[in-house]
Subunit: 329 residues, 4 copies
């Protein structure tokens, strides 16, 4: 198949997978940049599912007025398992064609990008991905929209817990989101002065946890905070609590922060990067890029092939762990 080189006259924008704060800032930026370039924009509601249902509406400048600061996404989102089926993607391509939509901007995670990549390969639809997930776990980009807000929300929550932990001389396990990745847990650990961080991809070292807590107590600390990366399934911290209480006779409390980390107003940083990425995505389509992602690397937005951004990110955690250890003495 030859490369699609025709000019983009009309584009669709959708959010897919888990929502993250800043998606609205990105949508606003996509819409306004496109209209400024004379490109029509269609909002595709509820992700790929909505695309298949034809839940598609034209957006104007005022459609995205006063949304830069709102959590969630005005386009709604969903996970769409059936998009893994070739026939379904064929149907999606037909719908886009019938609506005269020449290109797509997909805001989501690596799973959503993988679907976008296949759609591009099979049907030559120009697609630019904008990385949006609180987990910051997409390969090829150092940053994903929503991560900073989720970290900030968790940090605020742990600040609160530290108050009561200190007043009562207690130890708390605080479980943060991030699924299989530990990025949220590590930053939250550093930013809250946590005594220990339980990573998601490692065996739990109970001896080490108990040792870290006792070391702090020995030097006069009145409270301890242990940040737990949730891993595959929320609730791990309850298991750790039970083990610490029954096998190590350690009295601890557990808090699972949960979905408060997904919502809320995007931080300034997420609004900034989302605005930059939305602008870059449309400029890229306008200038002829056909299958890329607006990555954020070394402090700047850069366009990276979509194929590099469809896996989970594995990053060395050693430097951050070393920092946590050094500051928790």
């Amino acid at each position: 198949m030859e490369a699609n080189t025709k000019t983009i006259k009309s584009l669709g924008v959708l959010c897919s997978g888990g929502d993250s704060p800043g998606m609205n800032s990105a949508v606003r930026s996509v819409v306004r940049t496109a209209i400024g370039l004379g490109i029509e924009v269609y909002g595709i509601y509820k992700g790929y599912s909505g695309l298949l249902e034809g839940n598609i509406h034209k957006l104007s400048l005022s459609s995205v007025g006063n949304i830069i600061q709102r959590g969630g996404t005005i386009l709604d989102t969903s996970r769409c398992e059936e998009f893994h089926t070739p026939g379904i993607r064929q149907e999606a391509a037909h719908i886009l064609s019938r609506k005269h939509i020449d290109g797509l901007v997909v805001i989501g995670g690596n799973g959503s990008f993988a679907g976008a990549m296949t759609l591009h390969q099979e049907h030559d639809i120009p697609i630019i991905g904008i990385p949006g997930t609180i987990d910051n776990d997409i390969s090829g980009t150092e940053y994903t929209i929503g991560f900073n807000t989720a970290v900030q929300t968790a940090v605020n929550a742990v600040d609160n817990i530290r108050d009561t932990a200190s007043a009562h001389a207690r130890t708390f396990l605080v479980e943060v989101m991030g699924r299989r990745s530990s990025f949220i847990a590590l930053q939250v650990g550093i930013c809250t002065g946590a005594e220990h961080v339980v990573l998601s991809n490692q065996a739990i070292d109970y001896e080490k946890i108990v040792n870290d807590i006792n070391k702090g107590t020995a030097r006069g600390k009145t409270s301890s905070i242990i940040i737990v990366a949730e891993g595959e399934k929320s609730g791990l911290s309850y298991e750790i609590k039970d083990t610490l209480m029954t096998q190590y006779d350690l009295s601890v409390h557990a808090c699972v922060l949960g979905h408060i980390q997904r919502g809320g107003r995007p931080t300034a940083l997420d609004r900034l990067i989302a605005s930059q990425m939305g602008y870059a995505a449309v400029q890229a389509l306008h200038q002829g890029l056909r299958c890329h992602v607006t990555a954020f690397n070394k402090g700047e937005i850069e366009m990276v092939p979509l194929s590099e951004c469809i896996r989970g990110k594995t990053e060395s955690t050693e430097a951050q762990l070393e920092l946590i250890r050094a500051l928790a003495i």
Copy 2:
């Protein structure tokens, strides 16, 4: 025993039971008001346990500098089961006598007040209670310090959850604190536009919950929030979730907000009332009251006998439930 009518020259202040935001504002107010009246003030650390250990230190004006806005309590707190024993209270009275402490200000809940009342009755120690608990569950006073902050923290959390619930068209169970009382749950329910509130003292009406959710869905609501009062033991919302999923085939998510509700900066209202109560408590001791509580009723601080404030509060919830129902249509 005759009433203790001697002038208070020196008083002790302690926090007891669960900490609540605003306790520091109250401590600051007690200390400054006392010093202004020429009364010496001693901080008793870690509640009744600290009293028994002689963990008592003189406080100055600057001891309480810049604490009005801090969560937790600089005096620390604890629950002290052994204070139920007469011999232990005898020991406490001796320690106060040896330290030449003429009166006590006890900041805490109804359990702490019951202990204070017995101490007063047995040893004629002048005591003023300041109601401090996020649960707002003390008889004799319409308000307890920390309640407004806990409600605000929970409301902020539910605002966040509403964002992601809307983006995904989901139903969330959000469990708030309050132990056996439902005051937090009801206010949070009203302030977040919840579709349903599960009270702590009533059988769970699953048919009603399912009906409320379905009614909302039928008229186009994309998300539902159900506030759950924790009741005796945290975690009730997980049980409700399981029942809704298995017996009613309803997909729901559960969030237990937990101890984030105990910490954090006190709201303006909690700082205000705590400041007023701390001032009123010392003035009361100074003016000869011997066994009272700084209650907040009908919009004002009033002195109420301690004996009226040692039980849990039961209040009609009907008006608030009616409001929630009216606004959730």
Copy 3:
């Protein structure tokens, strides 16, 4: 003219004067309560000006979905000088009649209530007022929607300023809103541990200010905060700063908090009271009240004749000043 006793089948709701946080919570409550009672509701946009322009649209349950937490007002607001003219009010009454609107809910301050009262007297239109202004300056009610949020916003701001004032050992004048009333200034003063509060209706006592600051410095305080009630016109604190610097050789900084106090998400308390007042307003119209206000007195909503709520409120400030003095020693 005989009293209007016909049943209300359709009502209009408008916001008038300065906006305040919580107005949206009140609008939501009015709309849902009315629809629940079978009453049609019309949103009148931009206050009395919009009424005169016929800027009136029917509202549904979903018109007010997800607005309980939003600052500003979805109905917009305005000040309308020409409403003081009888002929203009005649025109307003005609428009309401043509739209078959049987009653009005007016959310605003005492100026707006005065206009509403005259409209009622001249044209027998049933009107319920909901007190909404951050200034809390309406006679007949102890509370007005938005006051708590404005105080909280100012308190948060002063907390920030205290940080930098302490780090640099500086004195700050912080000017808060409230026009001719000092309610915001007094509460903010108490809640931030201010060293002095300059009231709006009193001569500025420079000797006292200088004395309060020097007293603090003498006992080791490193920073001082002086809260200034804006009075008739914003900017008073700049004048005070100049006088302190030139006539008293005192180095001070001035901050005018300004309109940040008008916006922002309503606090839990403002959402609660706004929800209760919106409900009470519609119930009152439904039950036949014709010219009342949903006042908040002694901790409860009560219906007060509109005629009692059309003046500015003067309240003794002595108790609050005494508390500030006692705690600033």
Copy 4:
């Protein structure tokens, strides 16, 4: 003079110039990292002035307990004009020598760094600078501690102002800090969807401002926000307001956000970078670096010679202005 190669056994840490949120996180990190390496740490209070007064106290692990989240700086800070005098610096070197302090960590801006550089050159004292100023205006580093928090505080404030601006269909000038640099203004402009940003180093283009506002109004915008970089002296926005009103007949309101931007809890990002920089600073001294800065460039901490960080930073603002223009259409 030969290079000072002796091992650092004891170091001093001070804050100098304007305080910024995150300084405490950096101090904590310096102290704990040093103690972990067996290096003694002395807190030098009130910057260079305190150094000259010998206001120097040994710090322990618990000296910096629970300060990671606090605004201001526990070390206090000052501007010290006399440090420009060689004899005064000689005296400073003597004091450090008498206290057996082998090296300095200086947290501050480029002025403070210039003083540090001279002290190093004249007296061979090993010095590492940590860039701390909300203005983000230090050459040689893309980031300075406190910038993100100041931007976030300003963004929150503008969000509030947008609420009331929308409700009243008003135009607001909002003046942000940053002295001669426009970094805060530009980021705040992007993050709040501002209609126009007035930079500090350019002539004010009134025609353009009026045109931007009118363009927005023409397409239905109900409110406009213009961000003003303060420039040399706070209050510029009042002048702009007067000119717009008198010469262009445009009704606008002005808000000077002021010192609220200096205080407050550091954001997660500022805590993170401050923690990393504190750690890197001590490691650098430990490893033999003698006159460097912990710069943040291309997403990472790197050590840059102090000589590169003593000027104000000039950066192209074109990309950010282009983004603001594109999104404000």
